[in-house]
Symmetry: C2
Subunit: 531 residues, 2 copies
């Protein structure tokens, strides 16, 4: 309970700071300078209710900049300034074991076991090879207690996947980009399919069968999604969202956007030029995977999906002749250590040609959801709304399920996994993705103030995204039209909130964060569905 | 036997005329005008051996133009001039029943039966509809003894699918382009599959499952292949020929090219904007076909393949919102009236990722083929070489089988069906397609002299093709780079012949046409394979 209070105090302080920054300062300025409006967009004119004085501010790196125009014009790093902004510097209390996903020794024990298993396996393989007079390539593995993936796993808390200034995250991105790959295999999802797909189903999600699990020299694991579309190609207008290709650059961009929004619910993703011969074909010990490799008429190394109904070379991806762009997403801790559940999104789409879900036809759908466990209390619905804002910004219509860590109960944050179907069409804003926000008319105050910040010229979302994405080796990750679309969509989110406020008032719409669930922290089994 | 002699005489006359035109006249001119070379390309410098005086010329519309430069520069119709050229006006003797594919009354009887069957079927359908109080659309059908498709079928002879000046052919093209569609269905090939595809085969030809059989108001039937690729798109370099898309414009262009080469072995093909709602969905009585129609997110009417393993909407084709470009290829007479056999091409490709057929590794492969029935005598091998030249010009690598009418025995002409995989890459010339010519070093004299004619500026192949294709409603059928590729490839064919002549001499390489088979006109069952 004490920790909760501390947290509440920290939040209120942040809100007070925002209030001071967004409301009081401009008001003072407008008194002094006449009616000069510093905020160019109407949707940005929310005033936050005051909670000043309720708690002592606990802010680190607090810097109050002189004027907003200085910020916009001095040519410095907008991204650095964003991350030094008070809203991005709320101090999180020291984490207890309840707030940590893993116990202190757990990841290290797991790591030791994996290395021992690998070494046994390699020993047996080498013995067998020596008997058959075959030379096998040795992959130098390292046991590194300082491995970045280990630090990432250890740092996962009930607040987010990583803390804002965790040095392990940039290191993990660098490691995924550079480190030697010692093994490649299908992901568990694919293995579960055993190559047998349900071909009787006319309409089903497809195209996800080309992802691979790569193991790095330090035993870090990453999911590799190869490039299947050029950055300037738009999804054809006749494609349904469920047959849209997966885009490696959307995975990368989604990680950066999520970090910029301060959600930190997307595992780190880095771009990499993967050598499909040396880093997949040569290192895999899965014969099925080896069997889907071929050399194209243009002498490029290619591979296609395992599932037979898509085992056509039209679906293949090819290196040039061996190098292929792709995204590498860091694996979460093993399910045995940190179980997760996959829950059907109440705003899921129909995944049929003409079917419509209830939310598409019933404007009062949210009232029904609000009465259902676990959306009837706590943060779950607000988390769904956060996710819908995130998906609207990336234009990802394929959010059929979401995952949470069971350890953190019903109020645990939602994992924003699988973002590769975003960024398909820059010219279109799919308003239906915002349905949870526009139908429920609720938003977390912490989310809103950050969105407002990112709508300001000095922190413009497209600018901070462009800057953030420059850090990836596959830059430019997004084309300019996709970056501009982010600004346009952000305005639409803010307008949607404004409409709600006009209709229902700020008190109703803008909701305090960190409201603890009043229900028992159990999981409603009816909502659970395995992915 | 007498008819054969007449034919031989006619051919020799044509050759004599060509000799006069190509060899003697230029020689005379060069004597008179110095050493001015009228032919710009080296490969065009063949001299034909003289057969003058052996037979009386039997030429219609013989016009000897003044000078070649006049022909090239006066801006008239090159295509008309090509078709008035003596080489395109060799008179065919009056056809006897042996030279005709069908007996006089056969097509009409077939037609009457079909109309009677349709009317019975419609009567029953209307009665059933009346009982259930359903309104059914009536399709006005006409019994037209002058129907162009009927004339086309009646005109098929042992020489070609149609005669050069048959007025039924332009009429048939017009009818396929304009006439009302009264019914649509899967083709027999597809029906044979019953929607169950062999998905265990990793590599198999695909993409052909979207063709449909359309029945016109006058009971003419055409195969509809919808547009699946924009004209300016090139086949990706990593695609194998057997997964390449089928191109409707390649079907149309192949018909025009075949006619220009004077082969006349491709059934007439016309382009058409098909209304997939009104002319397919509404008129089909096949429920399976109706079931694959859907409305896309962009509100266009789309349909996808019947075969389940490709029943993904990525494969769908969509109208805009209903109109969809496609090629309509005239049906040949029913197999019950005019049986055909499908024979494996000795120069077929391996249809695997890395397999190689014998012809690809053995430079003496042709010697083996030449010893095998039916390639050991008669015209069959020369016909294969004609086909390889045709396929090289269109760059179609997918000629795994060819068909012949059984009635005309081993020396019957080869049908050049299924040309939709041509014209995929304008920037590349796939020399391996020419293997039958370059390995066997034989070519029909009649083919060679026409190719030489089309290499001359006054009849330039790209120019006559451009002109011919202007007659189609979907013009421009081919982009300019594809037209230029035809000229470039034609030069390569002529150079291949030249190399053979240098090595083996004209007498060996340039072969007299119409050599009758010395073997029994039976079909070698070992070579036969059903498609």
């Amino acid at each position: 309970m004490r920790r909760d209070r501390l947290l509440l105090a920290a939040t209120l302080t942040a809100i007070f700071s925002a209030d001071l920054y967004f409301v009081l300062l401009p008001k003072l300025r407008s008194v002094g300078l006449g009616s000069g409006d510093l905020c160019p967009c109407g949707s940005d004119n929310f005033t936050l209710p005051r909670h000043g004085g309720l708690a002592t501010p606990q802010l680190s790196n607090w810097t109050l900049y002189g004027t907003t125009s200085e910020l916009a014009d001095d040519g410095g790093s907008k991204l650095e300034r964003l991350f030094s902004h008070p809203l991005y510097n709320i101090e999180i209390p020291v984490l207890g074991s309840e707030e940590r996903l893993l116990q202190a020794e757990q990841p290290m024990e797991y790591y030791r076991k994996k290395v021992a298993h690998w070494e046994r396996h390699m020993h047996l393989r080498n013995e067998a090879a020596a008997l058959s007079n075959i030379t096998v390539t040795e992959h130098g593995v390292t046991f590194d207690p300082e491995a970045s993936w280990l630090k990432f796993h250890s740092g996962i808390s009930s607040y987010a996947l990583y803390s804002r200034n965790d040095p392990a995250i940039p290191k993990l991105l660098k490691d995924m980009h550079r480190m030697s790959v010692i093994s490649a295999d299908y992901t568990q999802d694919e293995k579960a399919l055993k190559g047998a797909c349900d071909c009787t189903q006319v309409v089903k999600p497809s195209g996800h069968h080309l992802k691979l699990a790569l193991k790095m020299q330090d035993f870090g694991k990453a999911m590799f999604k190869p490039m299947r579309q050029q950055r300037d190609e738009e999804t054809p207008e006749d494609f349904f969202y469920f047959v849209d290709l997966q885009r490696h650059n959307a995975e990368i961009a989604a990680f950066h956007l999520d970090r910029i929004l301060d959600f930190r619910r997307v595992p780190p993703v880095a771009g990499r030029l993967v050598n499909v011969s040396g880093e997949v074909l040569l290192v895999t010990q899965n014969e099925h995977l080896r069997a889907v490799f071929f050399t194209s008429p243009a002498n490029n190394t290619c591979f296609f999906a395992k599932c037979l109904y898509v085992c056509k070379t039209e679906y293949a991806v090819c290196g040039g002749p061996d190098l292929l762009e792709g995204s590498l997403s860091a694996y979460l801790p093993s399910l045995s250590m940190a179980p997760r559940i996959s829950i059907s999104n109440p705003w899921t789409r129909s995944y049929t040609f003409s079917g419509r879900e209830e939310w598409e036809v019933n404007p009062f759908y949210c009232d029904t959801v609000k009465q259902q466990y676990p959306y009837n209390s706590g943060n779950r619905l607000l988390n769904i709304i956060d996710m819908s804002i995130f998906d609207f910004l990336t234009s990802n219509m394929d959010r059929h399920h979401y995952e949470i860590f069971t350890k953190f109960g019903d109020d645990g944050f939602l994992l924003h996994l699988d973002n590769a179907r975003g960024f398909g069409k820059h010219s279109q804003d799919e308003m239906s993705i915002l349905a949870p926000l526009s139908q429920c008319c609720m938003i977390k105050r912490s989310t809103l103030v950050r969105l407002q910040l990112l709508a300001r010229p000095e922190f413009r979302l497209s600018d901070v995204m462009r800057e953030s994405l420059k850090g990836d080796s596959l830059q430019p990750v997004l084309t300019e039209p996709h970056l501009s679309a982010l600004d346009r969509r952000l305005q639409k989110v803010l307008r949607a909130v404004q409409r709600c406020v006009r209709r229902l008032g700020e008190e109703y719409v803008i909701t305090k964060d960190f409201v603890k669930s009043t229900g028992t922290p159990q999981i409603n089994t009816e909502m659970r569905k395995d992915r």
